[in-house]
Symmetry: C2
Subunit: 258 residues, 2 copies
Amino acid sequence: MKIVFVGAGNLATQLGKAFKRTTHEVVQVYSRTQHSAAELASLLKCTYTTSLQEVTTEADLYVIAVKDAVMCEVIRQVCPHRSDKVFLHTAGSMPLSVFNTYAKHYGVFYPLQTFSKQKDLDFKQIPCFIEANDAIAKEVICNVANILSNTVYELSSAQRKYLHLAAVYACNFTNHLYDLSSEILSRNHIPFNVMLPLIDETTKKVHFCSPHDAQTGPAIRFDQNVIDAQLALLSEEPALQNIYRVLSDSIHEHFNVK
Amino acid sequence: MKIVFVGAGNLATQLGKAFKRTTHEVVQVYSRTQHSAAELASLLKCTYTTSLQEVTTEADLYVIAVKDAVMCEVIRQVCPHRSDKVFLHTAGSMPLSVFNTYAKHYGVFYPLQTFSKQKDLDFKQIPCFIEANDAIAKEVICNVANILSNTVYELSSAQRKYLHLAAVYACNFTNHLYDLSSEILSRNHIPFNVMLPLIDETTKKVHFCSPHDAQTGPAIRFDQNVIDAQLALLSEEPALQNIYRVLSDSIHEHFNVK
């Protein structure tokens, strides 16, 4: 199959590299910015364009991997003139229906992972969630999904938006807590790497028991002395203090109510 | 050396097991509750007591591993009658000075890790932070710390309380976010294990770059459409919605200001 990538961000880069290891061929990359388009095209050894009008009509599958904010506009410009082709987008929080009226055969391929351009991942290990509007789209998307990943699930748009929301808590917010932790350490001249074994173990624990059963710390021990002392340490950091209070209260509530 | 454990919780259990693999001997366990005392004593093949008055005076090192809330009282009862012995506590947020006036030779041994009774850990890999009030305590504590762990640091009480605070963000709060994530999934009939590759990768990333550089997600992309849509999904969950808003705002602020 000939594939076009519309978008050349982190996800597109890693997905493109994964396709390169299959028999499918990425024939063109589009990105709004010349640098990103050229960079990914060079990796995938294909052509590129920075104009949506110049996206080829000669491919079988179009992967729309752009920011949610511009996706509707991109779909509106790309799909209508290629109406016998299959389109998919890769966004967790965009519904299948974003293609309505613009395309005939379309779907979603949502790999649940955090991507960076530099760090290559084993796509086989990434849970991928697919959805399609008809049998033609479903066959194409199922086919590529199962070539790329060992764990492919069908999931409705309604469920997928909650999956994406859950991922924001488990990944984006978690990483921000690492960032805040690192700030506190750095202000006290302690290197962040001393925190890594603890971070690793916190992650490992939830492979063996539920996060609820794994909870530890002052908030679940209702250790008001420690909580008050730690809030006092943050007296000159109202934002950090607020996060501490909100999360401690939430832990407290979860273990009082349940 | 003969060692007494005052406390039989998660940390005491794992520390006791680690000592059992050395030439030092745990001779007695104290816990307020009969069950915990008996359980750890049976693991360590030593005697136990539930009365602080019955803690033996015949040991060389006393490890005080009790909840912060009761530590002062425990120290007041245990230390004075054993004044030539070495005492240490294992609490991140309690200062060295908690032993003042009650003991002569004392210190802190703070292993930066999350412990459960069941899950055994390789203590060698755990960064341990020590502090002592005199040369006698320092020699004893240094000696056991270096037998137990490959990475031992000296750290003042003032710095240790910030280390502990940073650990609350990186471990306890992070795990709570996993718990919230798991709740969202479960309400939508999606198993939590689909989240594990993403959680693992989020953790792996901060081994190679700073959490600040690793940040991804709608908040750092300033993707207000996604943020508003996700807040709307939580309209009937004010606590979850508040956490979403507070953490998104914090991410936003970190990437605007810096």
